[in-house]
């Protein structure tokens, strides 16, 4: 029981102190893992390696990996609740309030002001990821082909992702 509580609190702390999505949460989860003695650093790194090779949000993947090793499925539940419950409820309440009142001139103005910022934030994310993603000339070829597939042929992003993985098996291996 105490271990479940520790998992809940540990992931609650890590997730709610981390701004900037998954990547910002990783070092905080690592701290919790070490301080609570849930697993060795080596084991955690192994978990991080698999989490990064799977799709989906990294923080939730790590909550599943760590939670299960500490306390089985109940541990997974405790860690996930800790990581997700508060921020999920907050985002629902806040966004719902915003959308309900989005016709008020005050909020209309505020939203007009925030939209350019969101564009910049997302573009910055692309830039930050881009810095680490273009390891060879093939990366640029893939990016170019992806752009053509998406814009000209209107392929679904999922199909482009799958195609790129097959392409990677050929050129990067």
């Amino acid at each position: 029981m105490e271990q479940l509580w520790e998992l809940f609190i540990g992931f609650f702390r890590a997730s709610n102190l981390a701004f900037g999505g998954g990547p910002a949460i990783i070092p905080l989860i690592k701290t919790e893992v070490v301080n609570n003695g849930w697993m060795s650093i080596g084991e955690f790194s192994e978990g991080l390696a698999i989490a990064s090779s799977l799709p989906g949000p990294i923080a939730a993947l790590l909550a599943g990996f760590v939670g299960y090793r500490v306390f089985g499925w109940l541990g997974v539940l405790a860690a996930l609740l800790g990581a997700l419950a508060l921020t999920s409820i907050l985002v629902i309440v806040l966004t719902d309030f915003l959308m309900r009142n989005s016709n008020s001139p005050i909020l209309k103005g505020a939203l007009t002001g925030v939209r350019p910022l969101v564009v910049v934030l997302v573009a910055k994310t692309a830039f930050d990821m881009g810095v680490n993603s273009f390891s060879s000339i093939w990366s640029w070829v893939i990016a170019g082909l992806a752009l053509i597939c998406l814009q000209k042929f209107k392929l679904h992003p999922g199909i482009v992702i799958c195609l790129s993985m097959v392409f990677g098996l050929i050129v990067f291996q």
């Binding site: 997730s15 981390a18 701004f19 900037g20 999505g21 998954g22 390696a49 698999i50 989490a51 090779s53 799977l54 799709p55 989906g56 949000p57 939730a60 993947l61 599943g64 990996f65 299960y68 997700l84 508060l86 921020t87 999920s88 985002v91 806040l94 966004t95 719902d96 915003l98 959308m99 989005s102 001139p105 209309k108 103005g109 939203l111 007009t112 002001g113 939209r115 350019p116 910022l117 969101v118 564009v119 910049v120 934030l121 997302v122 994310t125 692309a126 990821m129 993603s133 990366s139 640029w140 893939i142 990016a143 992003p157 992702i161 799958c162 790129s164 993985m165 098996l169 050129v171 291996q173």
Partner: protein, 182 residues
């Protein structure tokens, strides 16, 4: 109703399980489902939800799943969106030991290396799509907000939530009052 819940589940299952590279990689895929495919919301509303999401802590994919699920189908929608987003989490729990054996194979790292530039293109495209709606001709000064925000982001480590609040306050003073008068 049940159909909506199911659509939320399928939409987020597709988005989350094709999003390699964590939360940010999933954003454009959610946009594809929510705006383009199911038309649950407009491009502007997606940007607004993203603004709120960015100013709260925690993983962005589950925040978007919660809000969009709620909007489309109430609390059952929230559960459906979250469960779908967490499919890979259940996979890591059940198959963790098996995956560890393959996580260092050259084939997997080659495939993941090739996905990364695509993710960058998708996220950039996502910014572009939102950008089409974020700079209305009526308010050219929105460009100034973007340029200033870009400068601040590259020069400081400021928390995006603070920027979101600042941009909203600026927007209120710059555009909110005008529309009252007109």
């Amino acid at each position: 109703m049940l159909k909506k819940v199911w659509e939320v589940f399928i939409g987020f299952a597709r988005a989350s399980n094709l999003g390699f590279g964590g939360g940010p990689a999933i954003i454009p895929l959610i946009q594809q489902e929510a705006v383009t495919r199911y038309k649950w919301m407009t491009e502007e509303e997606f940007a607004d939800a993203l603004a709120i999401g960015n100013s709260l802590p925690g993983p962005i994919a589950t925040k978007l799943a919660s809000y969009i699920g709620y909007r489309v189908a109430g609390w059952p929608g929230v559960i459906a969106g979250l469960l779908a987003t967490l499919i890979s989490t259940f996979v890591i729990v059940i198959l963790g030991d098996v995956i560890i054996r393959y996580s260092h194979t050259p084939a997997l790292s080659a495939a993941l290396q090739a996905v990364r530039p695509v993710v960058v293109v998708l996220i950039a495209q996502s910014a572009y799509e939102m950008g089409k709606k974020a700079f209305p001709k009526k308010y050219r000064s929105t460009w100034a907000i973007a340029v200033i925000a870009l400068g601040i982001l590259f020069m400081t480590n400021i928390h995006p939530g603070i920027l979101v609040v600042c941009a909203m306050v600026t927007g209120y003073f710059a555009y909110g009052r005008k529309s009252v008068q007109s």
